[in-house]
């Protein structure tokens, strides 16, 4: 039943995501109201918005960790009812299992030949030869790399990232951006990145949406060529200003 068996090829491409008239409330608190969103296969979407604006809630709905109060989420044309095996999540915290070594953490779902696959992805994220270390000895950035490797090892078709770089220092964050962008362009999975950091959104995404009061306040394409320089580009600065105004 492990997801790894189902998705053996390393670049499985992406799957489209569609949200139709999604509403979500917790008791009396309405978090998302009548949300429509189509994410084409392979797109890199960034979601920005104020704290408490429902970004994580949106992500949990897509992941199938939670169900919408009304409306529906579909992945690859099929309604999401439970955890979809082609979807992988990166949380704000790395959530590594402290009593498993780095390699075991990456291969947490086990499956065929998991050790060799874990070693390979670890090398992809720049942690070659660290599979026998304990997670506790890693730095914050290295832990997120392990978490990324764990997500990638099963060749996901959708990668959801809930502010995974929020706790990292600026330099490490830029390193992680480069790594993510490179892996994403190699493998072509659909990516949804939740972030507070507008510069991060503009630097990485094909498209940015601003989530505000339960709806989409801005939906903007980022037509900058890749790889992108984080700073400098006046067009990027202009886009950042537009997004900030909408938040």
């Amino acid at each position: 039943m492990s997801a790894a068996d189902l998705h053996e090829p390393e670049s499985a491409g992406g799957l489209p995501i569609a949200l139709t008239r999604v509403e979500k409330s917790f008791g009396r608190l309405s978090v998302l109201g009548n949300l429509n969103l189509e994410i084409p296969a392979g797109q890199f979407l960034a979601v920005v918005g104020r704290s408490g604006g429902g970004k994580s809630t949106l992500m949990r709905l897509v992941a199938g960790l939670d169900t919408a109060s009304s409306g529906g989420v579909s992945i690859g044309g099929r309604k999401v009812e439970r955890l979809h095996p082609a979807v992988r999540l990166l949380f704000q915290e790395a959530r590594l299992v402290p009593w498993q070594r780095v390699g075991e953490n990456v291969g947490i779902a086990r499956g065929v030949d998991w050790q060799a696959r874990a070693r390979r992805v670890l090398a992809d994220v720049g942690l070659e030869g660290r599979e026998n270390d304990w997670p506790t000895v890693l730095s914050g950035g290295q832990r997120q790399r392990v978490a990324l490797a764990r997500a990638l090892v099963s060749a996901p078709q959708i990668l959801l990232l809930d502010e995974p770089f929020g706790a990292l220092d600026a330099l490490t964050r830029i390193e992680m951006h480069r790594l993510l962008e490179q892996i994403w362009s190699d493998r072509g999975f659909t990516t949804v990145l939740i972030t507070h950091d507008v510069a991060e959104a503009v630097a990485l995404a094909d498209r940015v949406i601003v989530l505000k009061e339960g709806g989409i306040a801005l939906d903007i394409d980022i037509d900058l060529e890749r790889p992108r320089q984080e700073l400098a580009d006046p067009r990027a600065v202009d886009l950042q200003r537009q997004i900030l105004e909408a938040v």
Partner: protein, 278 residues
């Protein structure tokens, strides 16, 4: 720590590191040795009544005698066997109950409050009842030991399972772990530090209950040996029995520490850093 010793060395300390290491290894034994010598002198000079508090050498002689006639080994084995059987039964049940109640809410609702109530009865208060039920044979003593070890293991296993980081559990389900893998790879290893704390307490209770049970009714075991010696006013044998208990207790503690060190390798508190001494 390294810095102070380096500083001490620079300040003109010319003793070799080997001697220093030896000195540090012997230091904890200095006080017991002085006490033993003082005790010996006090017993020999008649400062304390030898009948009530025999000299260390008298106890050593009693040790030697009982070693030669095999009685010491016989009684120690009898006690250890009871202790271990009780530990396996009571500890095993406590572990299973802790895991089941920790994982499965209906079981907790059904059993936990009852168990908490029973827990407040000291196992030794059950002795009269246990004698009525089982007589004074092996079953009675093993039953008491089992009860004594059950609760520390149960409570700490339950607590360990319950306090697993829910974020890890969520992560594991996102990554496709089924229930069996979740329990094996996330929940039990995560609960292990707490379970081992339970084991340490359980071992303490194990000897405690056993001593009392054996002094009340037994035909062998260390408890029997000391009670028997008391009737013949062999204070040296009584003290010998007490020392054997202390050693067995210490041995159990050393064993659990060794287990902890082995299985909690991942835990930052157990990762041996360069230059640390245990």
């Amino acid at each position: 720590m390294a810095e102070t010793s380096v500083a001490g060395y620079a300040a003109g300390d010319i003793r070799s590191p080997v001697l220093k290491g030896l000195g540090r290894a012997l230091a904890p034994w200095a006080l017991p040795i002085v006490l033993l010598i003082a005790w010996e002198i006090a017993a020999r000079t008649g400062l304390v009544t030898a009948r009530l508090m025999p000299a260390p050498t008298t106890i050593a002689a009693a040790f030697w005698r009982s070693l030669l006639d095999g009685s010491l080994l016989f009684h120690t084995l009898a006690s250890t066997q009871r202790a271990l059987i009780g530990l396996v039964i009571g500890g095993g049940l406590g572990f299973v109950a802790g895991v089941v109640n920790g994982l499965w809410k209906p079981a907790e609702t059904l059993f936990d409050s009852t168990l908490q109530m029973v827990r407040n009865i000291p196992p030794l208060a059950l002795i009269p009842l246990v004698i009525l039920w089982f007589g004074i044979d092996e079953t009675a003593k093993i039953f008491l030991v089992s009860i004594g070890v059950f609760f520390p293991i149960y409570i700490n296993t339950f607590y360990g399972v319950r306090t697993i980081d829910p974020q890890l559990v969520e992560m594991a389900s996102v990554y496709g772990l089924d229930r069996k893998a979740l329990i094996q790879r996330i929940i039990l290893p995560g609960a292990l530090p707490s379970i081992l704390v339970g084991l340490r307490y359980a071992l303490g209770f194990m000897w405690l209950t056993l001593i009392v049970a054996e002094t009340i009714s037994a035909t062998n075991g260390i408890g029997y040996m000391t009670m028997n010696a008391r009737e013949f006013l062999q204070t040296d044998v009584v003290l010998l029995g007490i020392i054997v208990y202390a050693l067995l207790g210490k041995l159990a503690d050393v064993a659990t520490r060794a287990i902890e060190k082995r299985v909690l390798l991942w835990h930052p508190a157990y990762q041996v850093k360069q230059g640390d001494r245990q």
